[in-house]
């Protein structure tokens, strides 16, 4: 052990203002590359869309559906794949790499509902699965509906028509 010396252990108490500390801490955090994340989101999101297009083309050629008719089964198939990957514990691993690329498409919406349902199964079918399934997806629906309402108003007032 070190020998006793005068003023041992007498250090200045930690003091720093909140504003000063935020800057101090910020300088020591690893930076997040926005560009790399954008590229990853573009690639992964694009791949999901390519997969969707392939599925749609498949329905159109094998089941002789029109492109409009093939849209619903295509979305259902993507949702099914997403739910399957979520149940196997793979989707969250993909998402860590893909970021917005796997969150924005319909597969991300399916993952948010499926993961919440799985997570709260232990609390029962009503209070657990039923009550929590829309925990994350709920805000998408709420603000999706609000946005649709606003767009609807613009359409009625200004008579702008989509084709």
């Amino acid at each position: 052990m070190a020998t006793k010396t005068a003023g041992r252990g007498k250090f200045k108490p930690m003091s720093m203002s909140s504003k000063e500390y935020k800057t101090f801490a910020k300088q020591r955090e690893p930076s997040r590359s926005v560009l790399a994340n954008c590229v990853r989101a573009f690639v992964s999101g694009g791949l999901i869309c390519v997969l969707g297009q392939a599925i749609q083309n498949g329905y159109m050629s094998w089941m002789k559906l029109s492109s409009t008719q093939a849209a619903n089964p295509t979305v259902a198939t993507l949702i099914f794949i997403s739910v399957l990957l979520t149940c196997f514990g793979v989707y969250d691993k993909i998402a860590q790499w893909a970021g917005a690329g796997s969150a924005v498409p319909v597969t991300g919406f399916a993952n948010s509902m499926c993961s919440a349902a799985l997570e709260h199964r232990a609390e029962g079918l009503v209070l657990g699965v039923g009550g929590n399934m829309f925990k994350l997806a709920g805000s998408v629906i709420v603000y999706g509906t609000v946005a649709a309402f606003v767009i609807g108003l613009i359409h009625v007032i200004f008579g702008i028509r989509g084709h």
């Binding site: 052990m1 070190a2 006793k4 041992r8 252990g9 007498k10 250090f11 200045k12 108490p13 930690m14 720093m16 909140s18 504003k19 500390y21 935020k22 101090f24 801490a25 020591r28 955090e29 690893p30 997040r32 994340n37 979520t86 149940c87 514990g89 989707y91 969250d92 993909i94 998402a95 860590q96 893909a98 970021g99 917005a100 796997s102 969150a103 991300g108 993952n111 948010s112 499926c114 993961s115 919440a116 799985l118 997570e119 709260h120 232990a122 925990k135 994350l136």
Partner: protein, 337 residues
């Protein structure tokens, strides 16, 4: 006995006569795997819920601690414990099954050293001959309560930390063989305005620095008096900040080995744990498993464990509040030192 402003000096030198540590698969794949009593291969441990799995970890860790202490369960007079789940359910249910007088404490991830300090105080003051301290955390229960469903695909930032799945317990006795607890510094809340729950290392670093500097002032000790000073779960970001804060205040931390349990438990390069480990079990299993082993075999003579806790709730951060943080330090020495 109070020494300085906030340090308890344990004249009777309470002894840690036995510890128990149980961990999950990720910790079992880390560099300290050999130091734990039991490693589970699956996260769910064949339980019906994550919460039940977390409880199982604590039950097993307390069983190991009592067994390794070489005493009977009935001899333990008080059990002091806490965890991260609302209303401390893991500890309350474990205490129910233990059938022991129970003191539930909440210090978030600082609970390991908070409960150990309290157990030592109980023994030192003569309130108990044997007291047990314990804590646990589970990656999935923490994700579920504080963040998103475990299988939800959200991208975690590099400052995020990975909650350790595990439990640690220690039996403290008035006499016996094992490392002794010489003093403990109870921390005060430090909140320097960090509000991002994915950046807890940065939020907690000032609390750790504050407690360590207070510990030195209260005890007259310096970093060189310790073979090792470890913080609980500051991980890469928080540890870097703490090192620089000490340097700024002129505290010679280079005279000791200054590390962090959140950096020791995983292989940060190989395992996908972002900045490192966190959770109540992080400091508990590293201290009670790895560090105790090194104290017993003489590699270490005197260490200071500073468990750090972010005392936020999902409600408080959703309401935009900052994160109040705390750190508690316990000095542990080799019994024959």
């Amino acid at each position: 006995m109070l020494r300085g402003k906030q340090t308890w000096w344990f004249e009777s030198r309470p002894v840690i006569i036995g510890t128990g540590t149980v961990v999950g698969p990720d910790e079992g794949a880390g560099p300290l795997a050999a130091d734990f009593d039991l490693v589970h291969a699956e996260l769910d441990m064949n339980q019906k819920s994550w919460e039940k799995a977390e409880r199982l970890l604590l039950e097993q860790a307390s069983d190991f601690a009592i067994k390794n202490a070489g005493i009977r369960k009935e001899q333990v007079q008080f059990y002091v414990g806490g965890d991260l789940l609302n209303q401390l359910i893991s500890n309350s249910f474990t205490a129910r099954d233990l059938g022991l007088p129970y003191i539930g404490v909440f210090g978030a991830c600082s609970t390991s050293m908070l409960s150990l300090a309290l157990a030592a105080q109980l023994v030192d003051s003569g309130a108990a001959e044997y007291a047990m301290a314990g804590t646990c955390s589970h990656n999935c229960t923490a994700e579920k309560q504080f963040r998103y469903p475990t299988e939800y695909g959200s991208q975690k930032p590099p400052t995020a930390q990975y909650t350790v799945t595990g439990a640690g317990a220690a039996v403290v006795a008035a006499s016996g063989n094992g490392p002794v607890i010489t003093c403990a510094t109870i921390g005060k809340i430090v909140d320097l305005g960090i509000s991002d729950p994915f950046n807890m290392g940065a939020a907690m670093a000032p609390a750790a620095v504050d407690t360590i500097q207070t510990h030195f002032s209260d005890t007259g000790r310096v970093p060189a008096d310790y073979d090792m000073i470890v913080t609980g779960d500051l991980a890469t970001v928080g540890h870097r900040i703490a090192v620089d804060l000490f340097a700024r205040d002129g505290v010679p931390m280079q005279d000791t080995v200054f590390s962090d349990c959140g950096l020791m438990i995983y292989d940060i390069e190989r395992q996908k744990v972002q900045a490192g480990g966190s959770g109540c079990a992080c400091s508990a299993v590293v201290t009670y498993g790895h560090l105790m082993k090194r104290l017993r075999n003489g590699e270490l003579k005197r260490i200071l464990v500073v468990a750090t806790g972010a005392l936020l709730s999902p409600l408080s951060y959703q309401q935009g509040e900052t994160i109040p943080c705390i750190a508690h330090a316990v000095a542990i020495e080799r019994g024959d030192a």
